[in-house]
């Protein structure tokens, strides 16, 4: 199994990872800040990054479709199921987390203007109680996403170090050149 994904697939995968880390770090900094111009900037950047993750998703699905690898090779039936389930839920969360953030922003009365240029429509009207619900869902879903990403990374490392089957190298091509 010395196949690997093509560069566009690898590129958007790792770009998504970087964006998620950036959005999470921005959110963590934001939480402890009192209102200031800097906080308003970080808030906007957080939203821009999150919406970018959402916008990248169709591209990722397209690349996955155009650039398919055999996900079953060398796996037991249970492993195939577990892998498909984790990937499926991660994809769903890559939609859900930014969507809940967008919904929270709309309900809180703050429209989202992507990169400060593209105004996105408000998904719901201003509603404080609803805003709180979406905030909880945004936080809850991102925690689940991180847990699954950790599981996903652990599985990749297991394949690389224990199984030595080249699964990780499909997404990290420079590993296979050693």
């Amino acid at each position: 199994m010395n196949q690997r994904y093509r560069w566009p697939t690898i590129g958007v995968h790792w770009l998504t990872v970087l964006l998620i880390i950036a959005a999470y770090v921005l959110a963590t900094i934001l939480e402890d800040m009192t209102l200031s111009p800097q906080k308003l900037k970080l808030y906007s950047w957080h939203k821009w990054v999150g919406i970018t993750v959402l916008f990248l998703l169709p591209l990722r699905l397209l690349f996955r479709f155009l650039d398919p690898l055999d996900h079953r090779a060398g796996l037991t039936a249970l492993e195939v199921k577990a892998s498909a389930a984790v990937h499926g839920v991660i994809y769903l969360l890559l939609i859900a987390v930014p969507m809940f953030g967008w919904l929270h922003s709309s309900a809180a009365g703050f429209p989202v203007v992507w990169l400060g240029v593209l105004p996105l429509p408000d998904l719901v009207g201003k509603d404080k109680a609803l805003a709180e619900v979406f905030k909880e869902l945004h936080e809850g879903s991102v925690n689940l996403l991180i847990a699954l990403v950790v599981l996903h990374a652990a599985a990749a490392l297991y394949h690389h170090h224990i199984r030595r089957d080249g699964v990780l190298a499909r997404m990290v091509p420079w590993l296979s050149k050693k």
Partner: protein
């Protein structure tokens, strides 16, 4: 002949309408439940809406000649709603409205110009944070059932002219300098 009769009929209506509306300027009652004073300000290019919960309006004019009337608006700045609690707290601090020293803002009309049917320009002085600047407000007056008026309009001003949001907040790329006020005031006879 028929034409002349029709003409005479309309002339009669017109004169009766005129005579009934030549009463002198009256004070109008404000229906606060159906009135609103709001504002829009861009933060990081995001239009964010806010408003004032408490204000008082004094309107005195003759329905036939609003351009001879007077308008006066007083805002209770502490009743500001910026869209978020931390925003409301920040807005009252000295860098913004400094409500401890300047609890009220006031607009007083000085002259009113009739543009066309129902459309006027109200020129007056806006006093905000102790600074008085001239402000020109385009206003639309829509007659209501029962003889009332809906007075609505919007006016753009620059917050820097009133020292609203100085210091670290001065950067207009974060909070825009342009501030748009929107209002609709329902007046009953």
């Amino acid at each position: 002949m028929r034409f002349l009769l029709t003409l005479a009929f309309f002339a009669a209506i017109a004169s009766s309408t005129l005579s009934s509306t030549t009463a002198s300027a009256q004070d109008w009652k404000v229906d606060y439940r159906n009135s609103q004073i709001a504002f829009i300000i861009k933060q990081m290019n995001v239009p964010v809406e806010g408003g004032f919960a408490r204000y008082s309006v004094k309107a005195a004019f003759d329905a036939a000649k609003p351009e001879q009337g007077t308008f006066q608006v007083e805002l209770d700045i502490a009743s500001i709603d910026t869209g978020s609690e931390e925003g409301d707290g920040e807005a009252k601090r000295p860098a913004w409205f400094d409500t401890a020293r300047y609890p009220k803002a006031r607009f007083v009309s000085k002259s009113i110009k009739r543009n066309n049917a129902g459309s006027f320009t109200v020129n007056g002085d806006l006093t905000l944070k102790g600074r008085t600047r001239p402000l020109s407000v385009p206003v639309v007056m829509t007659p209501q059932r029962g003889g009332g008026w809906l007075v609505s309009g919007r006016a753009v001003m620059k917050r820097s002219q009133f020292d609203i949001g100085g210091g670290e907040w001065a950067d207009p790329t974060v909070v825009a300098d342009d501030l748009e006020a929107r209002f609709k005031i329902l007046l009953n006879p």
